[in-house]
Structure formats: structure tokens, C-alpha cells
């Protein structure tokens, strides 16, 4: 499917999702749906670096929190519309991704993963000690009751995250099928051989960290308006780091479909578990699913589907990249 057709299909699906949520007529659907959408974006963002190039990032929460705290900073300095804050959050986190890339991408495997974890700890410590954005006590961001044209502010936030999810899915799919995605796959398979074949591995990895970080930052930017009160423990929460890794792993990491399926499945299960039992059970669900999939189906749901359903093997199959540069 051509990229433009795919994008329009995604927009149509998104419109259907929004219309369906409006039909239900319960605000909880928008609150829960926002979380699911947020994880769809985070999972796609993580997968661009972790799935496509094979560099595992344990610091997703740091990029997410950078986006959230960019909003808090501007909320105090000069309140701006959320779409603009999302762009700013994306820019800040994208730059942080680029910086992390320069500092850590010469490391590989577990060493890179530990470096990303260290980045999250360092940034959290900085935020805890930065009183302008609330420090350890946190910051309140009071959201307006309504917004022009759309009405409910929660509907507005849901719509923004829906748009971001469409953008993230389309971007991930476009990368996957491009010369860039082809280069990412060679880095994942064998970096030394990739470099010897002419692939500029460092530059490609920097693109991956920057794009991945930017999407995570854009996801974090509306978070203060969604939750109303941001503190370091919530913005840098373990669940963001764990979910961002677990969802693509459960869905399958080599294609955009995996993180989408994984995020919808796991985030929905978490929401159900939180409402039915307790919020703590949500993370347990992720842990159990992750362990189960790593043992039984290391290539995730997409891998399982391709193995047992011949028709599914054709879905999402990548064409050969042909662009010359």
C-alpha cells in the first residue's frame, strides 16, 4: 500500500475510533483510551531504535518526562497551546536523544541499555532539584474545562494523542520500508559488516535515537494536562520504561504492526486489570506476558501469526528499498 493511502486509511480508522468513543458517551472511555494511545506512540517510538536497530533503550521514561516537564516549564513561563507544546517537547527530547546517541552509541548491547537507564536517573535527579518546575514536590497544571470547537478538554487531549498515534504509526511504517529502515536492519544484524558495506552506522543510529526520543517527548507533552499534577515519580515512572519495551516485544519488533498490536493488547489489559482489580496488577500483567512471550514466542504475536497463518505472512511485508540516496 502506498504511504499516502496508508496514511489516509489510518486517519479514517482514527476518525472511526473517535466517533465510536463519542457514541459510547462515557468520559472514562476517553481517559482509558488516551492511555492506550499514549502507549501506542511510546511503543512505536521505542521500536524505531530498539526494534529496527537492535539498541535497547531502558530510558524511555526520561524522554517522556522531558516532554512533560517542557510543558510544565512553559506553563509557568508563558502558556502555549498543547500542539505547540508537543512540538517543543518533541524537539527537547529529540535533542536529548541525539545527545544520548553521541555519548552512548559507541557502546553496544547491555552497556548501551545501562547507559540509557543512567540517563533516566540523571535527568530525574536534575528535575527533583529544579524548583522552577516543582522539584520533588511536583507541579499542578490546571486544565481548562473545555476547548473551542471540540468541547470537553479530555476529548481534545484524546484527539491530540490519536493524531500523534497516526503520525507515529505512519512514520514507523515509512522508515521500515525506506532505505533508512534497510540500513537500520543491517545495524541490527551486524554493525561491523554494515559499516564495511558502506552503511554510515553512527549517523543512522543518531537518526534513530533522535526520532525515537522526539516521539517519546511529544507523547509526554500533553501528560501534565491529562493528569493535572506532575511529580518526578509519576513522569519518570517505571511503567513507562517497562511498557515501552514490553509492548513491542510482545507484539513483535521487526515491523510497525508489532508495537501497535502489543500496545493495544497490553495497555487495554492493564486498564481492565486496574479497574477490575487494582492498578498495581497492571504492571504484573505486563511482566507475566513478557516472560511468557520471551519463552514461547520470542518474535512476538506478529512472528506467531506469520508462522501459523500463511495469509498473515504477506501483511506488512516490506518492499525492497529503491531510493538512490
Amino acid at each position: 500500500m502506498h504511504s499516502r493511502v496508508f496514511f489516509l486509511t489510518c486517519v479514517a480508522c482514527a476518525a472511526g475510533v473517535f466517533g465510536g468513543a463519542l457514541l459510547v458517551g462515557n468520559d472514562y472511555v476517553f481517559f482509558a483510551g488516551y492511555v492506550v494511545l499514549q502507549f501506542i506512540v511510546l511503543a512505536q517510538a521505542w521500536n524505531i531504535l530498539g526494534g529496527y536497530t537492535g539498541y535497547v533503550n531502558f530510558g524511555s521514561a526520561a524522554f517522556f518526562a522531558l516532554g512533560a516537564y517542557t510543558t510544565v516549564f512553559f506553563h509557568k513561563l508563558y502558556p502555549l497551546p498543547i500542539p505547540l507544546l508537543m512540538l517543543l517537547g518533541g524537539a527537547v527530547s529529540g535533542l536529548a536523544g541525539l545527545a544520548m546517541g553521541y555519548l552512548a552509541l559507541r557502546l553496544r548491547g547491555a552497556f548501551f541499555a545501562i547507559a540509557t537507564l543512567a540517563l533516566a536517573v540523571v535527568l530525574q535527579t536534575l528535575v527533583v532539584n529544579w524548583s522552577y518546575v516543582g522539584g520533588a514536590r511536583g507541579a499542578y497544571v490546571i486544565r481548562p474545562e473545555s476547548v473551542w470547537l471540540i468541547g470537553s478538554y479530555v476529548h481534545y487531549l484524546f484527539l491530540l494523542m490519536l493524531a500523534l498515534a497516526v503520525l507515529a504509526i505512519t512514520t514507523a511504517r515509512t522508515i521500515e520500508r525506506s532505505r533508512l529502515g534497510f540500513g537500520f536492519a543491517t545495524i541490527r544484524d551486524d554493525e561491523l559488516a554494515a559499516e564495511a558495506s558502506g552503511v554510515p552506522t553512527l549517523r543512522l543510529k543518531l537518526v534513530a535515537t533522535a526520532v525515537s526520543g522526539a516521539f517519546m517527548g511529544m507523547t509526554g507533552a500533553p501528560f501534565p494536562y491529562y493528569i493535572g499534577y506532575v511529580q518526578p515519580a509519576s513522569a519518570f515512572g517505571l511503567d513507562y520504561a517497562v511498557n515501552s519495551i514490553a509492548m513491542p516485544m510482545i507484539g513483535g519488533t521487526t515491523t510497525w504492526i508489532g508495537p501497535l498490536v502489543g500496545a493495544i493488547l497490553v495497555a487495554s489489559l492493564q486498564q481492565w486489570a486496574s479497574v477490575t482489580f487494582s492498578s498495581e496488577l497492571g504492571l504484573l500483567v505486563v511482566g507475566l506476558l513478557l516472560v511468557g512471550f520471551v519463552i514461547v514466542a520470542p518474535s512476538g504475536i506478529v512472528g506467531l501469526a506469520r508462522k501459523y497463518l500463511p495469509a498473515a505472512a504477506r501483511v506488512g511485508r516490506k518492499p525492497k528499498p529503491t531510493d538512490a540516496r
Binding site: A185, T186, D189, E195, A196, S197, G198, V199, K320, P321
Partner: protein, 245 residues
């Protein structure tokens, strides 16, 4: 240009206190077939890694066609015309055999100034190479489906897909049977006949003697012989290095 294609001058490399390369000088002419031999640990792979950019040399220079390249990244050297095959094959496991060749075609050949191959041309060049190495029937297979000798051929074909001026074949025949060794030597000679300069690192002396027009011997990081193969193997220093005093 009339000078040598590859010029290595006073190349030095240390790993801590261990001197891996000690002032190596090596000049390779266009179209030449050079055999590089030496006992294990003599510095052959280190020299190749320094030429290709996988390792940074501590002293000396590496020039390709008169251009200093020793501060360039590996991928930049590949784009300028140096390609290598690895001692242990390192295929891109998630890609098919044809896609493995497409990587250097896209990232090396198409990255050169003035080169912009269409999809059909990329396919044609890949297919031509697969035909040359005898893997045309395996184009759609993944590397895991290949035999040991096919894997070696894929390694050489992928290096050739970068359309190099200089190909460095690092122990392309290790672990192969006599028939397979002859097959790879014939392949390397065919590649050379296409105008590619080749440095072959090898322990299998029958293959080295059949392939090389010139033989270079390294021992303990130093070059001890450089000349016609028949003369070099009779050299006393070379005999001592291989057979002892």
C-alpha cells in the same frame, strides 16, 4: 593516476604494550593479486583492519589512489573503493541473499557522486554478481539456508557488490575442502580479471601460490619478505618463521 592503488607507509599499531604492527610499508599496484601470509598473531588481520578502518592506526599513513584515507570511517573507505570479506562470514541474517548484496549497492555504489542506479539496475547488478559466484539459485534464500562454501561466496559477493577497486579477502577458504578451495580461488581470479585489485590473506599455501602474483610475509608485526611467490617461499627468514630454526 599512475601511482600505486594502495600505499601503506610506516604503519604502526599497538594494543597496550603489544606491538601488533611495526612500521609496515606496503605498496599494491592496480590489478595486482597479492597474497599476504604469516603465522597466527603476525598482524595480518590487524593490517587489514587498519587499511579498512575497523581499527585506527597509531602511526603511519594509508593512501588509496594518492588520497590519504587513514582518518576516514570504514563506510567512507568502502565508498572510496576498499571492500573486504570477513574471516568468519558475517551475513545480514534477517535479509535474503539478494538483499545482502543490495546493501552495498544502495549504501556504497549509490552513495558515490554521480551514481544513481534505478531499482532495475540494482537488481541487475545484484543478479550478475550472484550469477558470477554461483548463488543465482539462492537469491531468495536467507543466509541460514546456505552451506559453508555458499556462505563464503556470499561474503565475497557482498564485498564485490560495493564495486571496489581493492578487495581484501580475509581467509575466505578456512575450513573448506580442496574442491571448494579451488572453487574460491577460481572465483577470486575471475574477480581480478574484472579489474579488481585483490589482497588475499590465507593459510592454505596451495591456494596462495596458485592465486598470488606477489607474496608478502608478516611475522610479529613486521614485514619480512615481499616479492615473487617462488622466491619468497625459499627465503630463509620465511622458512625460519614457519618451520623454526
Amino acid at each position: 593516476m599512475s601511482g600505486p592503488l594502495l600505499e601503506v607507509a610506516n604503519l604502526g599499531k599497538r594494543f597496550g604494550g603489544f606491538v601488533a604492527l611495526d612500521g609496515i610499508n606496503l605498496s599494491v599496484a592496480r590489478g595486482e593479486r597479492v597474497g599476504l601470509i604469516g603465522p597466527n598473531g603476525s598482524g595480518k588481520s590487524t593490517l587489514v583492519n587498519c587499511i579498512c578502518g575497523t581499527l585506527a592506526n597509531d602511526s603511519g599513513t594509508v593512501s588509496l589512489d594518492g588520497e590519504l584515507i587513514d582518518r576516514l570511517e570504514t563506510h567512507q573507505r568502502t565508498r572510496r573503493g576498499i571492500a573486504r570479506s570477513f574471516q568468519l562470514p558475517r551475513p545480514f541474517a534477517s535479509l535474503t541473499v539478494a538483499e545482502n548484496l543490495r546493501v552495498p549497492l544502495l549504501y556504497s555504489v549509490n552513495a558515490r557522486p554521480g551514481s544513481k542506479l534505478s531499482a532495475a539496475e540494482l537488481d541487475a547488478r545484484g543478479a550478475d554478481l550472484l550469477d558470477l559466484v554461483g548463488l543465482a539459485g539462492k537469491a531468495a534464500h536467507h543466509p541460514r539456508d546456505l552451506t559453508q562454501v555458499e556462505m563464503r561466496k556470499l561474503e565475497l559477493a557482498r564485498a564485490m557488490a560495493a564495486e571496489p577497486r581493492l578487495l581484501i579477502a580475509d581467509e575466505s577458504m578456512a575450513g573448506l575442502s580442496q574442491v571448494e578451495v579451488a572453487d574460491i580461488v577460481a572465483l577470486l581470479i575471475r574477480l581480478n580479471e574484472r579489474g579488481v585489485t585483490i589482497i588475499m590473506i590465507e593459510h592454505i599455501m596451495r591456494a596462495v601460490m596458485r592465486f598470488s602474483q606477489r607474496l608478502v610475509v608478516l611475522v610479529s608485526g613486521a614485514k619480512i619478505a615481499d616479492g615473487a611467490p617462488d622466491e619468497v617461499i625459499r627465503d630463509h627468514a620465511v622458512e625460519r618463521a614457519y618451520l623454526g630454526q
